[in-house]
């Protein structure tokens, strides 16, 4: 389904990814695979308390242990200003960041770093941790977002002043945001049906299989090199520079291959510690988190507590929506309350919408981005209540969505007016898909839900170097998590008119390529792709100039076609076309190296929409849910490498299913995490899932030369509600809290039985 019929040679084909062979043979170097000679090993001492004043830390015994080369605590980090500083698209509070990487006045969550040691071996470093004595004064803690907002709740930051609202005295609310479109009072007056509900979601971890890892080496002259698994080498550089007071020019960060991130590797944990330890010890320092540390101290995304009110006419026109979305931020402000509010009902054309959100601190690790941050949470509420509305109105749930679908020209509740978008197409395809009409058996149910994500652009730089033999190297600056190098190479091959396997894409370190904002926001194939296309065009322009020089004609008289320079018309002259390889070989005598370059702050990301269909079977004896069939339909703009686009859709849906059914943090009464491992924090395994049918709709983004939209995030938005709606259809029981794990669902089923018996 494409409204653009241009034919491409490479774009849209399924080539083998450039980094593939290294990854199937074990050659690829991930975060913890890197080593340097003379390297020592760092470990972190973490707070066992959810909330405690750190009265003192005595490291003297640890320092005296043979083999220990350096010990650091918060005393080794300079204080940071409390103001928000611009960093990429977001704002960073470095006062919080320095406290998150190393607790200062208080430990704010179980697992919060309080000291770090570098020693000749991991064993010695671990022994040294046991010799550090920390004098804690344990304070009452709070884990739940609703509890944290109550009067009398333990306060994490006495000095915190919330933005966007007035409060008397200390609070855990860091921020209040609101979005208003039209007049909801009027909208509810027009409504013939009004429904109000509350929903809750648990915090969940990104669950990347590769734990955080870093090697840092600081030389005596202060020059630092950092190798780490990150979604943004330039962010690591900026954060380490700020936290350690070093100039950016003295830090070179090389991203390793990255074993998953999903947003969770957009921040720093170990990097500043390893760099400081290396500086103190005068040796390279390697640090790797254990899985337990990953769970206790990194990520997750917010948990949320929401109320929704929706009104509609009997004919199914939604007239008003009001929602309140409270998100837990972890120990420091920064829950994605804004995006959660903005995405809540973005797939719909609703004239009257009022949504507000709270960013609330609690004694948990500080949240990090996770695939479409905020949107899956608010969508769970919105897409559940829309399903209830459809039932109430007796309208098919997809029909109801179609009746209210946002289209080109619709003003979104969060402000902008949509350009070309493909939401309605996803609903149309869902309605016609044979999945939607397939028969269901006993205890089985089908659910649907939609989702929205903005996608972003941002700063990207790319270089296309034409090699002397007619091949090309594409240098960009975004770690490749799921095949983006292949997409960049495909677009470069298309532009240059040479074969895909003649283009070698590599990812530069922070000293080898201009600034790139991180891999996130589904931006790489879109924004960095645009920079690569422009850099390739720049190289082509130079190639045409060289041909003009050889032919002794004006450069305007030369065009580029199928990898050859040709005279634009017979008026220019009668010349044999010159191939890229030919021009590359002649480069030394026509003006020297041919290097295309582009750097820009890319605008015009096209939003992504998706509609998912999910079939479940519920075991009434155990409350366990099996996913029988799953179809995910998504507007992808244009799939540059269709296999990896499908992969994003399938992977996002699978993560959403895990979020829906099993994933949650279990804290004990002391506020300690009781399930910091993959055995008890259960992410979906192969036998939990069916095939996930990814259906790509291509409504090209008119702001990108190939029509690219970001694709990585929106697939995690619909699944939670799709599963909940399916469970409701299977059992008649509406689950309004995640996860819908067997004990919780069983309890709800029993409750419903009791109710039914009583009636």
């Amino acid at each position: 389904m494409s409204s653009d019929n241009r034919k491409y040679k490479w774009v849209g084909t399924r080539q083998i990814r450039p980094d593939g062979h290294d990854k199937v043979t074990g050659r690829a170097k991930f975060g913890s695979d890197f080593s340097l000679s003379g390297m020592i090993h760092g470990r972190v001492l973490r707070s066992p308390h959810a909330h405690a004043i750190i009265k003192s830390i005595d490291t003297s015994k640890a320092e005296a242990l043979p083999g220990v080369k350096a010990v650091i605590t918060s005393k080794d980090f300079q204080e940071q200003p409390a103001e928000l500083k611009a960093a990429g698209e977001g704002m960073i509070n470095y006062r919080d960041m320095t406290r998150n990487v190393m607790a200062r006045e208080k430990a704010l969550y179980d697992g919060h770093a309080v000291a770090a040691v570098a020693a000749s071996t991991v064993e010695v470093a671990e022994a040294a941790l046991e010799l550090i004595s920390v004098d804690y004064e344990v304070l009452p803690h709070v884990i739940d977002v609703d509890e944290a907002m109550k009067e009398g709740a333990p306060i994490l930051h006495e000095e915190m002043v919330p933005s966007g609202m007035e409060v008397n005295g200390p609070t855990n609310i860091a921020k209040f945001v609101e979005f208003n479109l039209g007049d909801t009072k009027k909208g509810f007056e027009e409504a013939e049906v009004v429904i109000e509900r509350s929903y809750k979601t648990e915090a969940v971890h990104q669950g990347y299989i590769e734990p955080h890892a870093v090697v840092a080496s600081v030389a005596e002259d202060g020059q630092a090199q950092i190798w780490c698994c990150t979604q943004g080498q330039f962010q690591v550089r900026a954060f380490v520079a700020q936290l350690l007071g070093m100039p950016a020019s003295s830090i070179r960060v090389t991203p390793s291959e990255i074993g998953g991130g999903f947003g969770g590797k957009t921040v720093v944990y170990l990097e500043p510690l390893a760099t400081l330890l290396s500086k103190k010890a005068g040796k390279p320092v390697k640090m790797i988190m254990t899985r337990e540390e990953v769970f206790r101290a990194s990520g997750p995304t917010s948990g949320g507590s929401m109320t929704y009110k929706i009104g509609a006419t009997k004919a199914g026109k939604i007239t008003a929506v009001e929602a309140t979305i409270k998100l837990l931020a972890g120990a420091f402000a920064g829950a994605p309350a804004g995006p959660a509010c903005m995405c809540a009902v973005a797939p719909y054309d609703i004239k009257n919408v009022y949504v507000n959100g709270y960013d609330v601190v609690v004694n948990r690790p500080k949240v990090a981005a996770y695939r479409a941050p905020g949107a899956p949470i608010s969508a769970f509420g919105a897409e559940s209540i829309i399903d209830e509305l459809a039932k109430e109105l007796g309208i098919d749930p997809l029909e109801l969505r179609k009746l209210n679908a946002a289209k080109k020209g619709t003003q979104a509740a969060y402000g902008p007016t949509f350009r070309e978008i493909g939401y309605e197409e996803t609903v149309d395809i869902a309605m016609k898909h044979d999945h939607y009409s397939a028969p269901l058996g006993p205890n089985q149910g089908r659910g649907v839900a939609s989702g929205f994500w903005f996608n972003i652009g941002g700063e990207s730089s790319a270089t296309v170097n034409i090699n002397e033999d007619g091949t090309a190297v594409v240098i960009s600056g975004n770690p490749d998590i799921g095949g983006s190098r292949a997409s960049l190479a495909l677009m470069a091959a298309e532009e240059l008119g040479i074969d895909y396997d003649k283009v070698r894409p590599i990812i530069g370190d922070t000293a080898s390529i201009g600034y790139n904002f991180l891999t996130g926001g589904s931006r790489v194939t879109f924004a960095t792709g645009l920079a690569v296309v422009e850099a390739a065009k720049d190289a082509v322009r130079q190639l045409c100039e060289r041909a003009a020089k050889i032919w002794e004609v004006d450069a305007e008289g030369v065009i580029w076609e199928n990898g050859h320079a040709k005279p634009a018309s017979t008026n220019v002259g009668d010349f044999e076309p010159l191939s890229l390889a030919n021009l590359a070989a002649q480069a030394p005598k026509t003006g020297g190296p041919i290097c295309g370059h582009n750097a820009q702050n890319v605008q015009g990301a096209g939003p992504g929409f998706a509609t998912h269909i999910c079939d479940v079977e519920v075991d009434p004896e155990t409350g366990s849910v099996s996913i029988l069939r799953y179809t995910a339909i998504q507007d992808v703009g244009r799939a540059i490498h269709p296999s990896y686009v499908e992969g994003q859709i399938q992977g996002g849906a699978a993560q959403g299913i895990g979020w829906a059914l099993n994933e949650e943090y279990i804290y004990n009464s002391k506020g300690q995490l009781d399930n910091p491992g993959f055995l008890d924090y259960r992410i979906p395994v192969a036998s939990d899932l069916p095939m996930i049918d990814a259906v790509m709709v291509e409504v090209p983004n008119d702001r990108h030369p190939y029509g690219v939209r970001g694709v990585g995030e929106v697939p995690i938005v619909p699944p939670m509600a799709a599963v909940a709606n399916a469970i409701e259809n299977a059992t008649g029981v509406r689950m309004s809290a995640l996860p819908m794990s067997p004990p919780r669902l069983l309890a709800a089923l029993d409750q419903a039985d009791i109710k039914e018996a009583a009636e």
């Binding site: 399924r14 083998i16 990814r17 980094d19 593939g20 062979h21 990854k23 199937v24 043979t25 074990g26 050659r27 690829a28 170097k29 991930f30 913890s32 695979d33 064993e123 990104q206 669950g207 990347y208 299989i209 590769e210 734990p211 291959e257 990255i258 074993g259 998953g260 991130g261 999903f262 790797i288 254990t290 899985r291 998590i481 799921g482 095949g483 490498h641 296999s643 990896y644 499908e646 992969g647 994003q648 399938q650 992977g651 996002g652 849906a653 699978a654 993560q655 491992g677 993959f678 055995l679 992410i683 979906p684 395994v685 192969a686 036998s687 939990d688 899932l689 095939m691 996930i692 990814a694």
Partner: protein, 160 residues
């Protein structure tokens, strides 16, 4: 403490190493023998990223001690390709994009190879249960399961 002197056959080569009692086979492969293809995702037997074969049994290298491997035959991802030729599973994983970040891939490949050596015609359910110990957070398993099944089909075809 004295180290153990261990001899084993690794990817077909006689291999000797010294290890401490607490070092796992995974530690030995990665830290002593510099074979970093086997990955550590959990160190507790829950993720399968460290899957290797020991005497023809599929195991988590993080749950086996290096010192237990004396006289054993160990195969890791580094031994899967035959010189320049990828194993059919490796090739199929590339062609069918059965990896995204690739951190789970070595373990998944070792486990899938073990399956196909036992059962050259597995059902989808059999593949899913066999690979249930290999976590992948990126792919949703769809393309992995398909790649394993289509490799099995190719191998059956080639064996005819």
């Amino acid at each position: 403490m004295a180290k153990h002197h261990i001899s084993m056959t690794l990817n077909g080569e006689p291999t000797e190493f010294l290890c401490s009692t607490r070092q796992t086979l995974l530690d030995v492969l990665r830290d002593e023998l510099n074979l970093t293809g086997s990955k550590e995702g959990c160190a507790s037997g829950d993720c399968g990223a460290c899957s290797v074969m020991v005497d023809d049994r599929l195991v988590c290298a993080c749950l086996v001690l290096g010192a237990e491997c004396d006289g054993k035959t160990v195969e890791s991802i580094e031994g899967m390709a035959d010189g320049e030729n990828l194993h059919p599973l490796q090739q199929k994983f590339l062609e069918e994009a059965a990896l995204q970040c690739g951190i789970c891939t070595p373990g998944v490949l070792v486990a899938a190879k073990a399956l196909l050596e036992r059962n050259n015609n597995p059902t989808e359910t059999e593949v899913r249960y066999w690979l249930a110990g290999n976590l992948c957070r990126c792919t949703g398993y769809d393309k992995i399961v398909r790649a394993v099944m289509s490799t099995a089909a190719d191998m059956r075809e080639n064996a005819k």
